[in-house]
Symmetry: C2
Subunit: 260 residues, 2 copies
């Protein structure tokens, strides 16, 4: 099935319910990742793909555009579309819960719950979540472990009105994001994050089993739902010896004037 250029690939499935452009997208991606198409080489032209697949050019463009956005190919007007050779890694950071992040890294996560209660938010949390004077929050403080090694201390606050029965239904040793998705249909889509460095306090050192004043990461995160509502405010300390942050930064396609 692999390796040979097929002048007549198996036809697309028009009854599968999967949009044609997704099927095309998927095929192109497989050809790229399998090495059938190599870095710098051109894709067949859009016209050619359209004829080959038996779809209109617009449909092919939709597929090609999405792969351009991912960075795996790039188009040059008048020349063609080329394989970028930029790899799609799995481990660049997305909006991920600790649980998801550790699984992606191949480690086994677990948590030790230090406290879990409903309380009044402090001012920083109230402002971050846009709460009123009387709004309360769930506050969950945990030590996070990867393969039984303590990685960080994390304090997470959520508005009570977002998930009113959390105290009854949620086992705080498990993944919070899974609970939110399954019980409340809540999906975090954006997280704003500030990373700073600091020294471990006596308490942090004890919980993380490191020497006091060791360098640590300090994270401050605010997560938002699709409609822009703030859903979670997190402050956490991760130890510097065992934790690292891996980012992929893309040059913004400055298509839009951003008026201050």
């Amino acid at each position: 099935m692999n390796g040979m250029k097929r002048p007549h690939p198996s036809p697309l499935d028009r009854r599968s319910g999967i949009p044609l452009y997704r099927q095309i997208q998927q095929r192109l991606l497989e050809q790229i990742q399998s090495g059938e198409l190599r870095q710098g080489e051109p894709l067949p032209s859009i016209q050619r793909i359209a004829a080959l697949m038996g779809v209109s050019q617009m449909t092919v463009r939709q597929a090609v555009k999405s792969l351009c956005d991912l960075g795996v190919i790039y188009s040059r007007q008048g020349k063609g579309t080329f394989i970028s050779g930029i790899k799609m890694e799995r481990d660049f950071r997305q909006v991920l819960s600790f649980t998801e992040e550790m699984k992606v890294r191949g480690a086994t996560p677990h948590s030790e719950v230090l406290s879990f209660q409903i309380q009044m938010p402090n001012q920083e949390t109230r402002e971050a979540l846009g709460l009123g004077d009387k709004d309360k929050v769930f506050c969950l403080r945990r030590v996070r472990y990867a393969d039984s090694l303590p990685m960080g201390v994390e304090t997470s606050c959520l508005p009570v009105h977002l998930c009113p029965n959390l105290m009854e239904t949620y086992d705080p040793a498990t993944s919070l994001y899974e609970e939110l998705a399954e019980q409340y249909g809540i999906q975090v889509t954006v997280t704003d994050e500030v990373i700073e460095v600091g020294k471990a306090s006596a308490e942090e050192a004890r919980l993380l089993q490191i020497v006091p004043k060791s360098p640590i990461f300090l994270f401050t995160r605010v997560s938002y739902l699709e409609n822009g509502m703030p859903a979670e405010h997190v402050k956490s300390s991760y130890q510097g010896d065992r934790y690292r942050v891996v980012n992929r930064l893309m040059r913004a396609k400055r298509e839009l004037a951003i008026s201050s």
Copy 2:
């Protein structure tokens, strides 16, 4: 000009050379950012916008899609398209040079050049840049200042074959990225970055005017051109007191199966 809903907006300019979908995109964005449309409110339907603007639905969809990708609006099949309320900030991290980053933050950057020479790369750099045994690199070591305060020490290596005349044409106290863009037409589009924490060495402490063993950021970056060619390997140390990292993470639209 502002605040009133106009049933008949000024027509699009079909002769400007600016694509219609960009003009629509820009208008919608202005209406959102000006507060004319508020968080949670629906946009006019795509049919309505198309009729209003005198363009086809596909053109409107192209504009709407791009704003969805940015996260400022979101669409729900059968219901409509809504304002997310998620702000487009200017200061989330992109692929930015130190110079660009500081200007965005409103600070004045400058650099003290510690060394600038052609040399053999160490093994880490050779591997990061995919170089052969005989390939040499430009190596530029600088202290970076913001408003005359030392922020970090940065060592940047570039393959000689990428920009062969750099030693002659480039003033190493200025922006490297600007030089690459202007003299060689080179554009960095992707940067992979690893962030770790550490303690300032004696030399770092001296250069950064901080006490030794202060917590610092350690960055390792590899930047790529659009065609996937590695262009730069950077190791840098930024002091923890004055530097912070601000990220916006988006939940990946897992439209694509990632094999392996």
